[in-house]
Subunit: 355 residues, 3 copies
Amino acid sequence: MTNKNLIDLEAMSTEQIDKIIRKAKKIMQSPPDFRHACDGKILATLFYEPSTRTQMSFQTAMLKLGGRTIGFDNPMNSSVSKGESLKDTIKVISGYADIIAIRHPVEGTAMAASLYADVPVINCGDGGHLHPTQTLTDIVTLSSEKGRLDNLKIGVCGDLLNGRTVHSLIKTLAKYSNNSFVLISTEELSVPLYIIDILEKNGCKYEISNSLADAIVDLDVLYMTRIQRERFKSTEEYEAQKNIFVLDKEKLDKARQDMIILHPLPRVNEITVDIDDDPRALYFKQAQYGMYGRMALILLLLQDEDFVIESREANISDHKCNNPKCITQQEEYLPNLSYEKKGMIMCDFCDKRID
Amino acid sequence: MTNKNLIDLEAMSTEQIDKIIRKAKKIMQSPPDFRHACDGKILATLFYEPSTRTQMSFQTAMLKLGGRTIGFDNPMNSSVSKGESLKDTIKVISGYADIIAIRHPVEGTAMAASLYADVPVINCGDGGHLHPTQTLTDIVTLSSEKGRLDNLKIGVCGDLLNGRTVHSLIKTLAKYSNNSFVLISTEELSVPLYIIDILEKNGCKYEISNSLADAIVDLDVLYMTRIQRERFKSTEEYEAQKNIFVLDKEKLDKARQDMIILHPLPRVNEITVDIDDDPRALYFKQAQYGMYGRMALILLLLQDEDFVIESREANISDHKCNNPKCITQQEEYLPNLSYEKKGMIMCDFCDKRID
Amino acid sequence: MTNKNLIDLEAMSTEQIDKIIRKAKKIMQSPPDFRHACDGKILATLFYEPSTRTQMSFQTAMLKLGGRTIGFDNPMNSSVSKGESLKDTIKVISGYADIIAIRHPVEGTAMAASLYADVPVINCGDGGHLHPTQTLTDIVTLSSEKGRLDNLKIGVCGDLLNGRTVHSLIKTLAKYSNNSFVLISTEELSVPLYIIDILEKNGCKYEISNSLADAIVDLDVLYMTRIQRERFKSTEEYEAQKNIFVLDKEKLDKARQDMIILHPLPRVNEITVDIDDDPRALYFKQAQYGMYGRMALILLLLQDEDFVIESREANISDHKCNNPKCITQQEEYLPNLSYEKKGMIMCDFCDKRID
């Protein structure tokens, strides 16, 4: 099965990612050339939980292509979310809009929406599960600023255990040749084993570090994420470690002049404001690259017939996924779609193992 | 008095309804021809209670005509609704917008707004009173799918007592020749007597049925509505009857192949999802027809000089309407407008009898 | 330092104000000529507190210029406002939008935003501090309706103590020659001394009155504002005085035929509805003039290279402003910007004295 949705960046080939990047760069070079590319088209932004930055990025992307937007930003304001099934909402919106960008607190919702939509669906975040256009943002930034996606030494720092953006970035960059990683975190917040598996399977070099000051020295890229206090067992533990992972002027002085600093934002205190004006600090420009990446994505999904994304082969399994955070728990009409991975049966919506 | 507002579909002649339908069909045939029809025009959607579906339908309609939209979707976010009179809000918005679509929880609000607006006003629902563009949606769907608005056998099923969409649809279709109706409901939820009066006055055949399975057999149209648990005296009563009025595959098998199923949405459980893919299930397409109907309505109100809607002759009555749900109870400056009906004095805002 | 922001109307020369007025009049004469003036441009309306009227006025202004808008209307719906610094939000939005209109409950926020924005910033109200486009609205109305901004006798009535719109209007009109003022209020709500200072420094005649009925007789302009009950020490006091400051038909009968009535809206009861249709009642049309004024402002900030607004000379002071309502109390990275006034050190954000 092939489709015109972006649910999971994993489903995209590197050729497709490269195609998005090339398109994004073309748009950046001459935005006025694309000002009418989506004339008469409508993007629906269905945000079942607020995420102003992502929503505004998509809205701006569509407006800069000449299209228009409709949508909502909060389930409380939304009658469609009161008692109505996701399917019914998606069916109705398919009659209004040419493309749908959906955000939802429950895992697998974008995938579920894509089953019923008559138009392309973009996943703008489904709970703690996937957020593919954030990784797209990171990749467009890297390619534009470093000129390549391979032969990079990438430091990722902060909460590597829970940060879905970090996992997705590593998985994507592992597909490009000769990238190496420095995983900078406390032991408690180190990457899950399956990420190590992916690195090893792809033959990527990696180091584990618990010192940002040491690790920063020879990086091409430093990807910072925030550490959340609630992840720590005690306040003492948090207080003891939090400053190790604050990027400040002193640590930055040890980095190369051509290193670039990325951050998915919002930041809390893990990057001090006094380095915001350093030319290596690219986290604000990164948000703008994200907008161009989304413009490219919308264009390709709407207008490039060859830009179809392979879906994973799925079966109907005998029993339901029992992940309580999975959309199948809420929307009862959904089929028990599953796929096989390493001999296990996995839920096609939330990617958790079905017992 | 004539005007350019749509407050109550009753005020429209069948010629005017037919004109909207013809325009809607023209737009459907070639949407790009209308992409700039409202260039430079602004629609204000003033939604004093959330109704995302209706609001998005209007916004999409205006955007597809080349116009733009402003508005709000919730009184809590709206400073105009804090302490400010409806009149003042409408006066100010009249200075910004070319046409106003208003939704309000209080009966008669759209009518009140039209007294002060300098631009056309469309009623998008005023409490439990009127919702004319829903009926417009139903009528555009019927005409497009059945090719006619007369000589139809229409089944209406569910809560016929409280469903304003059902009442409005019956009143409208009763004006066309040779339509007959099957009123399918429990005794408790049967149509009010005034609807029976209208049917008899217009010479319409009608049957009363308490079995959807029996009634479905020879219908041209089945109009489903949801039954609300709180309408029943006891849970037992509700449980006993609710399944009679669920349209499922088994019942649908008895229907004609050219019968069409409509529903104003949102549905709860009164249509099972397994018939959604049946070609007779038109409730999702119906929402799209509604969008085209709204496009036609906006166009005619803004651009067709001949499209003026006759207002009812109104007088100033001696005392105020005392319907506690009427807008005159909240906005004290409103005149005591009334009209005569069968020798009674009726409120011109909420259509209730003035004592 | 010069810039392209409108934070405080005080920073504008009368030549610049006149330029906005001239541009606004040109737009009013032929709106279609400006329908594509801002094609491809995006206005971000960042409303950290709801103010539907102001937000819709800006949105309409941009849409009528051919531009598009993004933004939010409530911090509760806005992830950017959750924990993220103002600076970071502004930096990101600068990558999306061509111009920013910001409203915030805290004093000095627009000024703070302008320090980090890469695009022009317009202050749409920062707490009880400044609201320059309201005064712009008043001035455009006056110039359009009276044909001049000098040689006017202006009555200002209501709460002259707390009304920031009244203070700003007086400060602006005092710069034009031969304007005189009648300050109509109770003693408790009379203008602050610094306003009297400004009037005297500019050589403006002024009278103090506690009777609207007496004062109205020979005014060119009557500027009404609402009185808030909570400003009075007792309910008795409020009840005793409130009717003195209600403009009704009887008082209006004493006014000249060419007097005009303005009000920043929303009104409560200080103007009776029965004079709304009097040709002198311009408060609704005033809102429309405000929209044209905002169109002119956006155009000049975006397109007129010569339209740069002089910033006050600022220094870094030794200690922080300690006004608890000042933005510097919330956003810790802000520099301690200050300026000198009459030998005192003033906060450059909130204009309060720094102790």
